[in-house]
């Protein structure tokens, strides 16, 4: 079991996602929620960085936060798994620890 890293800030606004990707150990999971879901969008200035990090991490994004911002599932980078709140809970229980990148 590994660590679940959560990021709730937009990569355009803060460097939380970049710090997370820099300091998380390979094999960890990364869950993007709240404004963090912007990091899961394809064709942004950060998409390439996420795609490259997929070799090391499993990425998840919280669906309700995507919908709230008018961003459809087809705008999400391939390979990022969309979860709901129950999925969020499952992820926290499946991992040993949760590291929140605020």
């Amino acid at each position: 079991m590994a660590t679940l890293h959560t990021v709730n800030k937009s990569p355009f606004e803060r460097n939380a996602l970049e710090s997370c990707l820099r300091l998380a150990k390979a094999g960890s999971s990364v869950l993007l929620f709240e404004d963090g879901v912007i990091g899961a969008m394809r064709d942004t200035r950060f998409s390439e960085k996420i795609t490259q990090a997929m070799g090391d991490f499993s990425f998840y994004v919280l669906g309700p936060d995507i919908k709230a911002r008018g961003l459809n599932d087809d705008k999400i980078i391939d390979g990022i798994q969309v979860v709901d709140y129950n999925g969020f809970v499952d992820l926290t229980t499946e991992h040993d620890t949760v590291q929140s990148w605020l």
Binding site: D35, I38, T44, G63, D65, K67, A68, R69, L71
Partner: protein, 139 residues
């Protein structure tokens, strides 16, 4: 510019944050609607993550927050007819004008014809518009 009722100043509201994650977007909208009652010359600017405030199809049922995106379409009724979106901010987010709500107003000087009030403009034009303002409020 003076008229009988007082001075009309150019007010600009700069919106740079995504909606729902922070309270900035909603607060800005509230202040804009209040200020609209004072018949000032209002411009709204959306840049950086602020462009996400205007996306169409927002559905907040899943996060238990009020969906205030429909309020933007009512801005025309408050005589707010200059909404500027920075083109470069859209592009670096993989978005285009297609992803945004259509904002309109009815032109009283043109038989109430419905006209666009949202303009996607480039960085240089945006800088010029911001520079022309008397008052700038940042959100």
């Amino acid at each position: 510019m003076e008229n009988g009722e007082g001075v009309v100043k150019k007010f600009c509201y700069i919106n740079r944050k995504a909606p729902y994650g922070t309270i900035y977007a909603l607060e800005s909208l509230e202040v804009v609607l209040i200020a609209a009652a004072f018949d000032q010359d209002i411009s709204l600017v959306f840049a950086d993550d602020g462009v996400y405030q205007l996306t169409k199809g927002q559905d907040t049922d899943g996060i238990g927050m009020k969906n205030f995106s429909k309020t933007y379409t009512a801005l025309g009724d408050y005589d707010i007819k200059k909404v500027y979106v920075e083109k470069e901010s859209l592009e670096e987010r993989g978005l285009s004008a297609e992803d945004l709500q259509a904002l309109k107003y009815e032109d009283e000087d043109d038989d109430w014809a419905e006209k666009d009030s949202l303009f996607v403009i480039g960085r240089e034009e945006m800088a010029k518009i911001i520079d022309e303002q008397d008052v700038i409020l940042s959100f």
